[in-house]
């Protein structure tokens, strides 16, 4: 009012500042000297009344009369005070404080149901946040690669044998590099191994031979020093290495002066058989790689340039992992078509090696996430279900409380509370409930993500980066707050609209509408719990099946790898003599049950394949046959614990001429309905062809490193390979025998290093499939438990409450002659009906869910009847117990007491 009038006056500015300052001063005084402000006001009102009474006495009233008249005239001392409080600066703050205090008192009055609600919200919000945080770190956040969407891995696959992820031979890589029109950049990496001499002891190293272009393709820059330069791809100039960050830390203590140091490398066989073989000699350290590399299937210690000279490259030895960056605007489909045109051309030009070989492009992101994606989606679905259960729980609880409080609310309205204030107070109470639950959830989520970050399997990319996800927590909290507000608001509105006198007259009986809504909520909750429990059971069962179908016996098994230096062991006879001697040493060691050797152990992430022909079957009619190849020593299957299904294990007599054992899957594919024993096959190896070899046995399928065990495999008896893995079956703890294993090797050749000494159980635990399987089942188990717990809370809470509400009705029934048995029967029938309807809906949901899960999980085809039955029985037990306790009490109660029950 004053402003538009005072606009042209000099004091204008002060006019606006003074009120603001004054209000601020009063606000502070009201908030921090509340007691004094109140006392002063009390005094003021009292003095007013005294003076008013004095006036009236002066007019001839008696003291008593005057005082009463003064009070009457003033219109209620408390109302006056309240009116002043309402206009004071900071009144809203005052009222909020009051609402919170009342809210807390109301929550404390029912400690049981409050604790349940807070725990339910906490558990739900916490689990949801934790899982979202993991999913976000592992699945959603990007790999540290520029243009990730355009980065792919290029593989070859053989559609006739379902073999996928076939690596490239150096010649094939060059063919694709030169002919591929879709690529902006193409790079390759070849895993291998070498022996390094650091001081006196020879140590085995994992190596990666990389093309110069790989640094561009994957946008990798040296963390220290420099990357390779194009000149270093020429043979002879390639004696330079880069250390991976982990190796630099382990071996050199992150010493920055390591650049320029020479290390002496000795190539072993696994580093390549032809021109790509690692040359022996001193290598100069030129750089250190960054800690995070977007490179898969390689745990290399050092990177070494891979010189590729077209004139002397192999077409048969495949070991290159190829990474590519597509040109901008080129879609995956077009790039695939482009690559397959190259593949068809290669098939035409080199039918020996490239028949039925197609190109297969996998986005780097899916290669990275791999099997985890469906699992994460499963987890997210589980989170959604869990949150739904939480919401149903909270809704139920609030509705229950609202019915209980209808009378309290009416009384307060009658005593003059304003409706707005009342609604605000009920909402404050709901909010408090939601926020305390959120606090518990935050604590829970923070500790859960911490556990995952620290204990999560390292094979899952970026698991160490898992951190509490703020937006995820906010979303989960918002959902639960919204639920509590929504279901807290409905009764508040209803109560404040209702006619006060009517509500006061009404006895606190069950409100029919609320009862129906609650029954629906319980049914929904039972259905949701059923689905989550069935899903959990399916995931756990799949994992157990996976673990028990390895095809071999992983316990009591010690493994190690030996790669012989090429120069020293150039003679095949020397190699055979070495491994034969080592195995004999081992077999005579006390505690060793059996010992054998194989080129690639189960759970290793490398592979080797072979094409072969079957005697008496012309290759023209049958296609070129391909299978996984394993080269094994006599006694290998006994050591591994793989069952021989037909025929026999490799023996000494198989070594000079060579023999073959086929896997169950190979027998089924290549000799369907026939006995493969006595048949003959000819293997096409990298450098030569074997003569016709007799098949002497059929062995159970052994799971390699992916889920499917049934890849056709041929085992060839030979001990002249330059590198083998040892499999030693022990009587006791295999870890105890590790020193003896090293001794045995040292006794044969003191200069020969042994690498990767580990028990099979440890290797298995490290492998990606297993760790993720375990991770997933641990998380799913947690979910199942949380869902079960939440449903128990919800179901028992609501059923219990509805029984208590009916105490009066039971009293009437008992008074009219019903016996305890009748009352209990009514109760149980009602509870059972809820369980049956809820479970039926849940079963339908589970059937739908299982169809989805079956695509991702091993051995999940249907909802097992015993699982469904088990869930039904547990949910039924919970519901019936919850109903029975109050029902039994109600049945025993004196009808008179029951009738008075409110």
């Amino acid at each position: 009012m004053g402003n538009h009038r005072g606009g042209d006056r000099p004091g204008d500015c002060r006019d606006r500042i003074d009120p603001a300052m004054s209000r601020l001063r009063h606000l502070l005084r009201n908030l921090f000297q509340k007691k004094r402000v109140e006392e002063e006001h009390d005094d003021e009102v009292r003095s007013y009344l005294e003076m008013s009474a004095a006036e009236k006495m002066a007019r001839g009233m008696s003291a008593d009369e005057a005082q009463r008249a003064a009070r009457l005239e003033a219109g209620g001392v408390e109302q006056v005070k309240e009116a002043v409080r309402d206009v004071r600066a900071g009144a809203w703050f005052e009222q909020l404080h009051q609402d919170v205090r009342y809210g807390l008192r109301a929550l404390r009055r029912r400690p049981g149901s409050t604790a349940i609600a807070v725990l339910a919200v906490g558990l739900g919000v916490g689990s949801a946040t934790a899982i979202w945080s993991v999913a976000d770190a592992v699945l959603i956040r990007s790999l540290p690669v520029r243009d990730l969407d355009r980065t792919v891995m290029v593989w070859q696959q053989d559609l006739t044998t379902d073999r996928d992820r076939i690596t490239f031979s150096p010649a094939e890589y060059l063919d694709y590099r030169d002919a591929g029109r879709s690529f902006e950049s193409l790079g390759a990496l070849q895993p291998g191994s070498a022996i390094v001499r650091l001081g006196d002891t020879p140590t085995a190293l994992e190596t990666a031979r990389v093309t110069r272009s790989l640094f561009d393709t994957l946008d990798i820059k040296a963390a220290l020093g420099r990357a390779f330069v194009p000149d270093e791809e020429r043979p002879g100039r390639d004696h330079v290495v880069m250390l991976t960050n982990g190796f630099w830390q382990r071996q050199f203590g992150s010493d920055r002066h390591v650049l320029g140091t020479m290390i002496s490398l000795q190539g072993d066989s696994a580093s390549g058989a032809d021109a790509t073989a690692l040359a022996d000699g001193p290598y100069t350290i030129v750089g250190v790689l960054p800690p995070q590399l977007p490179v898969f299937y390689s745990q290399a210690d050092v990177w070494i340039p891979l010189p590729l000279d077209r004139s002397q490259l192999s077409r048969t030895v495949r070991g290159l992992r190829v990474f590519a960056r597509l040109r901008p605007g080129v879609l995956l489909e077009r790039a695939s078509a482009d690559c397959n045109a190259i593949a068809r051309d290669l098939t035409a030009r080199y039918p020996e090696t490239n028949r039925d070989i197609h190109a297969w492009l996998v986005p780097l992101r899916s290669e990275d996430i791999g099997d985890i994606q469906p699992s994460i989606l499963t987890l997210l679905a589980a989170v959604a279900l869990l949150l739904a259960i939480v919401c149903a729980n909270v809704a139920n609880l609030l509705l229950t409380r609202a019915v209980e409080r209808e009378r309290e609310i009416s009384v307060r309205l009658a005593l003059g509370a304003s409706r707005r204030r009342l609604i605000r107070q009920l909402l404050t109470e709901s909010l408090l409930l939601g926020l305390s639950g959120g606090g518990v959830g935050l604590l829970f989520a923070a500790s859960a993500t911490h556990v995952v970050r620290v204990l999560g399997p390292a094979t899952i990319s970026r698991v160490r980066e898992v951190a509490l996800n703020g937006p995820g927590f906010a979303a989960a909290l918002a959902i639960s707050l919204l639920t509590s507000l929504l279901f807290g608001l409905a009764p508040a509105l209803k109560a404040s609209r209702s006619d006060v006198t009517e509500a006061l007259k009404q006895r606190s009986g069950p409100a029919k509408g609320g009862e129906r809504l609650r029954q629906i909520l319980v049914t929904v909750e039972i259905a949701l719990a059923f689905v989550v429990l069935a899903g959990t059971a399916a995931v756990i069962k799949s994992y157990l099946r996976l673990d028990s179908h390895l095809g071999y016996e992983p316990s009591h098994l010690l493994t190690a790898r030996i790669g012989l230096p090429r120069a020293k062991y150039s003679d095949p006879g020397k190699r055979e003599a070495f491994f034969r001697a080592v195995l004999e040493q081992l077999r005579s060691t006390p505690g060793v049950v059996a010992a054998g050797a194989v080129n690639i152990l189960p759970q290793a992430d490398t592979n080797q394949s072979v094409s072969f022909t079957i005697a008496g079957r012309p290759t023209a009619e049958g296609q070129a046959r391909n299978a996984r190849l394993r080269v094994a020593s006599p006694g290998y299957f006994r050591s591994l614990g793989a069952s021989i299904l037909r025929g026999r294990e490799f023996e000494e007599r198989d070594l000079p001429g060579g023999a073959v054992i086929v896997s169950r899957a190979a027998a089924q594919r290549f000799w369907p309905g026939e006995n493969p024993l006595g048949q003959q096959v000819e293997l096409t190896l990298s450098t030569r062809r074997t003569p016709m070899l007799p098949i002497v046995g059929v062995v159970e399928d052994v799971r390699q490193w992916n889920v499917s065990a049934g890849e056709p495999t041929l085992y060839w008896s030979s001990m002249i390979q330059p590198s083998y893995s040892l499999a030693v079956r022990t009587a006791g703890d295999p870890a105890d025998l590790a020193p003896l294993l090293l001794d045995s090797v040292r006794r044969v050749d003191p200069d020969q290093p042994v690498s990767a000494v580990a028990t099979m159980a440890a290797r298995l635990a490290r492998s990606q499939g297993t760790t993720f399987g375990r991770f997933r089942s641990a998380v799913m188990t947690w979910f199942g438990l949380a869902a079960l717990l939440l449903s128990i809370m919800g179901i028992s809470g609501v059923i219990h409450y509805s029984m208590v509400q009916r105490t009066q009705e039971f009293g009437v029934r008992t008074a009219l002659g019903a016996r305890a048995g009748d009352v209990i029967r009514i109760v149980l029938t009602q509870a059972l009906r809820l369980v049956l309807v809820g479970s039926a809906i849940g079963l339908l949901g589970s059937l739908a869910l299982t169809r989805v899960l079956a695509r991702y999980l091993y051995g999940v085809e249907r909802v097992e009847p015993w699982i469904a039955g088990g869930i039904l029985v547990s949910l039924g037990t919970v519901a019936l117990t919850a109903a029975l306790v109050p029902a039994a009490k109600a049945a025993r109660i004196n009808p008179i007491v029951a009738l008075r029950h409110e």
């Binding site: 009012m1 004053g2 009120p19 009102v45 003095s47 003076m51 219109g75 006056v80 206009v87």
Partner: protein
């Protein structure tokens, strides 16, 4: 009209009463009744909130003193900005009153 004073009117009345000199709650109430010829009966339920509001605006200052018949009472008096406010509110009120009077005359 009883206690249903027009909003803003009560503030103006209080300010004008205090423009004469400091007074306590009961005194202000009696004075308003007197000057309005008994038209306005201000009850403590509206008087005290208004006094506190005006005090918090910085237009009134309060101090404890002794009443005419020797009782302790809280006296209110105008501050400097309160005085300016009396002028401002008075002229605003006059403008409105004149406008309404003209409007009534025109439609009568």
């Amino acid at each position: 009209m009883g206690s249903d004073l027009l909003k803003g009117t009560l503030d103006l009345l209080i300010l004008r009463v205090l423009a004469i000199g400091p007074n306590h709650g009961l005194g202000i109430s009696r004075r308003i009744r007197q000057v309005s010829g008994g038209t306005f009966e201000v009850k403590p339920g509206s008087l005290f909130p208004a006094l506190h509001r005006l005090e918090e605006q910085g237009w009134l200052a309060a101090r404890w003193g002794e009443s005419e018949n020797h009782r302790r009472a809280k006296f209110y008096q105008l501050t400097k900005s309160g005085r300016r406010q009396v002028d401002a509110e008075t002229s605003t009120w006059e403008t409105i009153a004149a406008a309404i009077a003209r409007a009534i005359a025109a439609t009568a």
